[in-house]
Symmetry: C2
Subunit: 299 residues, 2 copies
């Protein structure tokens, strides 16, 4: 953990200036050149770092501060508690990206491990109140589109995770505050890009396709978000695309809900993102995303 | 250690703006208000923090960025490897102050524990080459003066430590780079102010006189440094004052030197800071500061 702090001191410098000589970086960080080389070698495991002679730089395409999407305000932080909490202080069409979250969380406040080299971000968007329910399907779909577009054969796991060969690669989180006619939505996104993933149930882009510059994912994702209001104009088309990307469909699932366990076959998802499960007794149960704490595939 | 990171995220905000509401601080750090209160309560152990209703501020007198000594350039950093290494990139009459050092070191590169709430700083000064040897006595003397002036009955422990009731309270470190006629000196200073001190051989101002605003020590210390060239004009007076503040004088000491152990009674210090030890055999041995790795008092 002293190592994390040391990495953060070096990353701070790498994100604040485009190119450093080893000597200047030593002066900036107060870390000896010998030690810098050791720590940078470790950082190269999780970041796209360019070394050209004695110069060191973080690659532009791995540096979120280099994305300048039109109409968005971007904040980049080394460490935050959670980007979801941070985003509460931001105006719509802002996005905060952190290198490390101390208290990263997912649905139902479950801990989301957010170490160096991943994408941990929250975007603030504003939508007419009647369109917001469609985000439950639109947001995971958008992330799925981005990951497929870079050649990774991912699937959506209901309601909002992205998996590759049944292992968790990323997830989305939708929290909102309603006003009279509009709703401000905090769209959280987490993607294991080059960060260390230590559990077998999860994977990373690095494990699948090798070290990946994060802006390949982040830039198109933000692009889609900007057009999300357009996307939700035709909910039925959205549902079709969502369903054709859903690994959960037609599988036997067990859901831990806020009022008990539901087991059965997943037969449909409606335009608000609710999963319809056909139980053994033949009944159809509708599972709203917010009611489901955990979902497992049994087959 | 996750706690250190969390404290650092909050300190970063506290040092960047004078006053925060709990809500704004939560937005800035991404840490929930409930958790903020918990961490700030812990920070109050090591910092002078003002809480006024729902507003939180680090006291100006505990905030090194509030010192504006004439003619000095001040850098404040949350975390560095070592301020001594960082200072190599600074011009003379600059000073760097860090809240935490990852690789803090003292004489002979011995680890110097530098956690939150202490003074860990390096000042860069420039002197005519012939004056620089006097710094060995001038610098610890200056720190001693400052600590005595705030009512703490400290002593100098040869060569460059400050002790209170035989426990280490602070230390100085002198590293230099010589040019033709001048020398650039990196004056390191470490003082246990409000930081946690976990070993019986050391103490802190907090333990002696309670939570102490750091600028009470830092500001006069920098003031003396600015006049250090003047101070070394009369080395003999300097030696007299040094000796009258030296706890080591007339005591039996054992010194671990680069070429063996020397034991005897400390009888004098010369103007270059060398300790004269009278051994059992009656010989007088001159110990230059740089030759002595460790010195212990035996009586």
């Amino acid at each position: 953990m002293i190592d994390l702090l040391e990495k953060l001191v070096i990353l701070k410098a790498l994100f604040e200036k485009d190119k450093w000589s080893l000597r200047e970086l030593s002066w900036r960080t107060g870390i000896s050149e010998e030690r810098l080389i050791e720590v940078i070698n470790e950082l190269c495991e999780s970041y796209v770092i360019q070394r050209d002679g004695e110069f060191i730089a973080i690659a532009s395409r791995d540096n979120p501060t280099k994305i300048k999407p039109w109409g968005w305000s971007i904040r980049h932080e080394l460490v935050v508690g959670s980007t979801q909490v941070y985003a509460r202080g931001l105006a719509p069409w802002s996005i905060v990206i952190a290198e490390h979250q101390i208290h990263g969380y997912g649905r139902h406040k479950r801990v989301w491990e957010s170490n160096l080299g991943g994408i941990w971000a929250t975007a603030v968007i504003s939508l007419p109140a009647d369109k917001s329910p469609y985000l439950n399907i639109a947001i995971p779909l958008v992330l799925q589109r981005v990951l497929r577009s870079i050649g990774v054969k991912t699937w959506i796991k209901w309601p909002n995770d992205i998996v590759f060969e049944e292992r968790k690669l990323g997830g989305t989180l939708i929290e909102g505050v309603a006003f009279q006619d509009s709703i401000t939505v905090y769209v959280g996104v987490g993607v294991n890009v080059n960060n260390y993933v230590g559990i077998p149930e999860a994977t990373s882009l690095k494990k699948i396709i090798g070290l990946t510059p994060r802006n390949r994912v982040l830039a198109p994702f933000i692009g889609y978000l900007a057009r999300v209001a357009k996307l939700v104009i035709e909910p039925s088309k959205l549902v079709d695309e969502y369903l054709s990307n859903l690994t959960t469909l037609n599988r036997v699932v067990v859901a831990e809900t806020t009022d008990g366990i539901v087991e059965g076959r997943a037969v449909e998802v409606d335009e608000y993102g609710s999963l319809i499960v056909s139980t053994k007794s033949g009944a159809e149960v509708k599972l709203e995303p917010w009611r489901v704490i955990r979902l497992r595939h049994l087959d």
